[in-house]
Symmetry: C2
Amino acid sequence: MKIVVDAYGGDNAPAAIVAGAVDAMKADDGIIIVFTGKEIEIKELIKKENFSEADRYAIINADEIITNDEVPTAAVRSKLNSSLVVGLDYLKKEQSAAGFVSAGSTGAVLTGATLRVGRIENVARPALAPLLPRMDGKSVLLIDCGANVDCRPEMLLQFGIMGGAYMNALGVDKPRIALLNNGAESKKGNELTKAAFELLSASDLNFVGNTEAREIMSGNADVVVADGFVGNVALKACEGTALMILKMLKESVLNGGLTAKIGGMLIKKSLSGLKSKLDFNEQGGALFVGVNKVVVKAHGSSKRSAIKAAILQADGLAKAGLVEKISASLKN
Amino acid sequence: MKIVVDAYGGDNAPAAIVAGAVDAMKADDGIIIVFTGKEIEIKELIKKENFSEADRYAIINADEIITNDEVPTAAVRSKLNSSLVVGLDYLKKEQSAAGFVSAGSTGAVLTGATLRVGRIENVARPALAPLLPRMDGKSVLLIDCGANVDCRPEMLLQFGIMGGAYMNALGVDKPRIALLNNGAESKKGNELTKAAFELLSASDLNFVGNTEAREIMSGNADVVVADGFVGNVALKACEGTALMILKMLKESVLNGGLTAKIGGMLIKKSLSGLKSKLDFNEQGGALFVGVNKVVVKAHGSSKRSAIKAAILQADGLAKAGLVEKISASLKN
């Protein structure tokens, strides 16, 4: 599949982006990369990676860069020669282009994808949906995580439908859809979630009811639906706690005297396995669900391994016919 | 100080509640406990604890129990002889009663305290506010965590004022107040947080701007303001992640072969220190801020140590003149 990569988005761009893309091509013979960004620099970086299969990639020159400090709508509208907009335009225009990956400004990627690539028919609002690690080793989709900070109940229903189609494309049969709420009981919630509960209950989805934030990663659901503000808070609270604990653990071992230090050395391998299980980056990026092609937003701090994972993810979702599946799910 | 204790609220009531209260009396000579609940059973439990200072406690008989399954408003209105309502009525009536602790149904405690004890003058809505552990070893107050699931901007401003007065009573000079938001930039937010940001900025508070959920426990703020729905999600997401990681850590050590197992044994002490640092229970209960006396809601799963901590907390806050401080802060 042909994946378009914004080489100038993210904290570690362009070096980590290009390196991650080369790793993805090495990992999968079927992947073709179209880079957008400063052509000469990208060429240099590919050369550094000792990748010589020139027919596996192309570079479209784009001199401008959209940063995190810019207002997304204005930036996408004015910087038509940015690596982001050039990439999205190519994605829209070229039928063979199956997916897009950027680690750039979330707002700009979402606005850009909506404006330049367009929504799937019947989609009210595309949503940002990352996969989170679950205790059983599988993943749970949290949708929406920030694209829509003020939602109506019907939007939450549609997030459930799209999220279900996504997990189905990943091979999950009859995905269990839960609603993120302030209690597990069916009567719980604020105005929004109470109304969304009714809509989800009346739908054809495999709706399993409300879930509390402490159960998101428990394995009780395959898709957790939330408005973008709440989903964003939940995601970042999980990330922040995970980082804090791993740091405190390290400190408590280091300050625990010789016994603890030796113990720490002995469990180092187990710990690093745990760390990679918990690393939200290793799960690839967050999919922008509801636009007309596969658009993956990688974390701004993505290193080469995360970019590689995001590209493989985009490729897999395109192969699984994600856009067609979502489109079909909204026609029922 | 005289603290009223609902002996029949919580998963481990009445045994753990009575035992925790006895521990609190043993820990602080100045504490007098008024238990509410089944008198004969409570007497038996105190006897079991070998506590013979009969002038340090009293028991007010109350035969009914309010459970988690009941609709809070209906339960508080109909079960006038429940341990909860009898306790709250005593708290209101008796000037010498300085505080109240219950591990019972959150909804019933909040509704009961509002209806039977009443709000401080000028308080629009009391809020539930737990202290969370911070990376620097201190605590951060998250207000509101579930009392008000649909909020107006002015309510968030008032949560900031009350939260500031709370932390001030705990000895924090000019507490730093932050607004929980979906990004740190000042323009970020949904309709509610954008409007609340303006109000907080224009106030006399030491408002330090927006904070993302991943920064709640970072130490950047002493008070984090949120609407009750969002605060509840953030709190439970932190709790759930902490529990999951500690469980995964244990499993990864157990499944990591002999080396990891020996390592695990060597760091056991450091780990249990970390666990107690992260134990949200050990921080005491959540204060119900804005009612006319100190009301502490302990976690439903509280064991005796958590009940003891919650009673010491209620005693400390009453001594610090919390209600008077909040009252004064709302008159400015």
